[in-house]
């Protein structure tokens, strides 16, 4: 490639870079800017520089830590359940099944429903007065308070699992189907049991796909908002107050945008660290194999 070509190439991506700067760079820079200012929408004439004060304020803000903890529990609970179920289902579908395309299409439908609708749906399905699920459970003699203090966060995790396991299935199935057949045939010839094959062949081979799937789901799960908004509003107490809902509360109900921006930036840092750790382990795996 000649010198002129490269220059032309750079000039041609310039509009895209400018666009990205305008629609992503500016809001991010502005968020950093207001996180260092006492920026309240109801007192815009009193905006002043406060440096890191708002970040320090988060340290002894119990609601922030509760929300962070709830979010981490939600993310780890939801993603690990989804991985487990998703792998099981993908493994079962990884063979010729009659009407397999129809099967897969039906299995994927929850993904296509918008999350706020899923939230509202489960709010009514699990409602003690109106819901069909408590009615069925009662006919079995079970009385479960899905949104009580003990189960509320777990119920939200289950809803996330219902909606997003299909994505896991989709990704893992694609990974499984791309695997070479020879190692499996060789293992069978050598008399390996099904479980041994899964443990020593299948899982190590699709580990990179698994990690990518975990990453995608994790980034998404951190942004959980709709279920909380539609069902529990963070209650009972603060049992389901997730970080994004808390940011929304501080920013758009109390109008303290500066403090909300500081929280959002710490959340971005937490996610960044987790992503780096995941990538590291992905690299290490590749180096080993």
């Amino acid at each position: 490639m000649g010198h002129r070509d490269r220059r032309l190439g750079r000039r041609m991506v310039l509009p895209l870079i400018l666009l990205l700067l305008a629609v992503q760079g500016y809001p991010m820079a502005f968020a950093v800017y207001i996180s260092a200012h006492d920026y309240r929408l109801t007192a815009l004439s009193e905006v002043r520089w406060v440096g890191l004060e708002q970040y320090r304020g988060l340290l002894d803000n119990p609601s922030y830590w509760t929300a962070m903890k709830n979010t981490l529990v939600f993310v780890f609970g939801a993603v690990s359940l989804e991985l487990l179920l998703g792998f099981l289902v993908a493994y079962l579908l990884w063979r010729p099944v009659p009407a397999q395309n129809l099967f897969r299409a039906i299995l994927l439908t929850p993904m296509f429903v918008t999350p706020i609708a899923v939230g509202l749906m489960f709010r009514f399905l699990l409602n003690n007065q109106l819901g069909i699920i408590p009615v069925w459970l009662r006919s079995l003699g079970l009385e479960i308070d899905w949104f009580g203090p003990d189960l509320a966060l777990f119920s939200l995790i289950l809803i996330d699992v219902w909606q997003w396991t299909p994505l896991m299935v989709l990704l893992l199935l694609a990974g499984l189907e791309a695997l070479p057949v020879e190692p499996f045939e060789a293992a069978r010839v050598d008399g390996a049991s099904e479980l041994q094959i899964i443990r020593h062949l299948t899982i190590p081979l699709i580990r990179p796909v698994m990690l990518a799937a975990i990453l995608i789901r994790m980034l998404d799960a951190f942004r959980v908002f709709e279920y909380v908004y539609a069902i529990t509003r963070g209650g009972p107490g603060e049992r389901t107050e997730t970080i994004l809902f808390h940011i929304y509360r501080v920013g758009f109900l109390y109008f303290r945008l500066g403090e909300a921006a500081a929280m959002a930036i710490t959340l971005a840092l937490v996610i960044f660290v987790l992503v780096v750790l995941l990538f590291r382990s992905l690299r290490r795996q590749e180096a080993l194999t």
Binding site: Q129, L130, P236, G237
Partner: protein
């Protein structure tokens, strides 16, 4: 070249004269956009609009109705814009001081003085006071949502219940006037009906709801959020007692697993005949007693009383004009029309929640509306009522206290601890 420039200048001149000329020629009709909540009281306003537009041919009114949760953001966005999206807004009572502190609302004193027979003093005092901040009037009362005690009168009149209660407690069964009586009566209904009828459909939902219900209990126990000097007194023994009784009621007399219940759930429970009492907005009574309403066969069996202790939590919506509204005169024309004595009477007859004393004392309203005793009870409720919280931080205080109360009802904290934590947070918010 010169000809070209001359032609250009001439064209410019013609354009300018055309622009200038067309401006004063036809005063286009003003369109007022009003942000409102999707509630029955908005439907009442919709029914009145044709009259307003007939009396004011130059003004068209468009109502932008939406769910409560969407309103605060939209109103604020409208305040921020160089030119307001909304010509008239309605303000929920916790937002009033905050919006005034942000310098977003237009003072209305002069405009009120401009209408001789307006009679601002006719609005019930506690409701009217919400719209007055720092001695100036910023909001005109639209409708009230003060709390009352709604009971199943047929159960209280049932001889079987009456006799059993008399035998057990040595006094007649009557709607409660103290907290202890309220808890006892609620427990009595649950026991006596064998668990078929719960004593009270409660609303311990986190945030606004639980605070709104419990603060009536706090008043009855002699407590409050702040004292007269504005100091936080939420952790005093009266408050602890009120919360302990409230939790006892929830555990022993409310429907099971109702920790997340808000307004809808409690109403459904009451309408289904599952509960004997509930604390709710006073105007839920006509809804429950409406044969076409949610209660079906039970319609007509409900009655409204003051909450135990007599002092109630007051909620109210106010009309206001944003400072950046483009047609303030037209905005005021609408507000002064809809809140005038004459239209208030029509509005209340159509089922709107009253705010003017004259409407509540009007025999024509009694007759065409829901009867004399209803309006008299509502007036009594409104005269002794106080909002949940005031000041520019009211919304946050309500959320914070409501979270702690809900945690205490959920059993995560003791009543004392929850109130201590709540008081500490309110002190921090207020900078005490």
């Amino acid at each position: 070249m010169f000809r070209r420039i001359a032609g250009f200048v001439m064209a410019l001149g013609m354009l300018a004269s055309w622009l200038l000329g067309c401006r004063p020629a036809a005063p286009s009709p003003v369109t007022l956009t009003i942000i409102m909540e999707q509630v029955p009281d908005t439907d009442v306003i919709r029914k009145l609009l044709p009259d307003f537009e007939k009396e004011n041919p130059g003004i068209k009114v468009v109502i932008d109705a939406m769910p409560y949760d969407a309103m605060r953001d939209k109103i604020l966005a409208s305040f921020m814009a160089p030119r307001a999206t909304y010509d008239v807004i309605i303000v929920d009572n916790p937002w009033m001081d905050e919006f005034v502190a942000g310098n977003f609302l237009e003072p209305l004193d002069d405009r009120i003085r401009g209408i001789p027979d307006y009679d601002f003093e006719d609005f019930v005092k506690p409701v009217r006071d919400i719209g007055v901040v720092g001695g100036k009037i910023y909001g005109i009362p639209f409708y009230n949502y003060a709390l009352g005690l709604i009971v199943r009168q047929d159960l209280f009149d049932d001889p079987a219940y009456r006799d059993a209660y008399q035998k057990k407690y040595g006094k007649p069964l009557a709607p409660p006037t103290t907290l202890e009586d309220y808890v006892r009566i609620a427990q009595f209904f649950k026991e006596q009906s064998g668990g078929k009828i719960y004593g009270a459909a409660m609303q311990p939902q986190r945030g606004y709801k639980v605070f709104e219900e419990w603060k009536n209990w706090l008043y009855a126990a002699g407590g409050n959020l702040l004292d007269d000097q504005g100091k936080v007194i939420l952790d005093r023994p009266e408050a602890v007692r009120a919360l302990e009784l409230y939790i006892e009621m929830y555990k022993t007399a409310a429907p099971p697993n109702s920790l997340n219940w808000g307004f809808d759930e409690a109403l459904r429970s009451m309408a289904a005949g599952e509960a004997a009492t509930m604390m709710s907005y006073n105007w839920m009574l006509p809804t429950l007693n409406n044969p076409q309403g949610p209660a079906g066969n039970l319609a007509g069996k409900f009655a409204l009383y003051e909450v135990p202790g007599g002092k109630a939590v007051l909620g109210a919506w106010h009309w206001a004009i944003p400072r950046n509204a483009p047609n303030k005169d037209a905005s005021w024309r609408f507000i002064s029309w809809v809140t005038s004595k004459r239209v208030e009477k029509q509005r209340v007859i159509l089922g709107g929640a009253p705010v003017r004393v004259s409407a509540m004392k009007d025999p024509e309203v009694w007759q065409k509306g829901f009867g004399q005793s209803y309006y008299e009870t509502v007036l009594k409720i409104l005269e002794d009522a106080e909002p949940l919280a005031r000041g520019p931080k009211a919304e946050e205080i309500i959320q914070v206290v409501g979270t702690e109360l809900n945690a205490a009802v959920a059993g995560e904290k003791t009543a004392e601890q929850a109130l201590k934590d709540a008081a500490a947070q309110v002190r921090r918010i207020l900078g005490q």
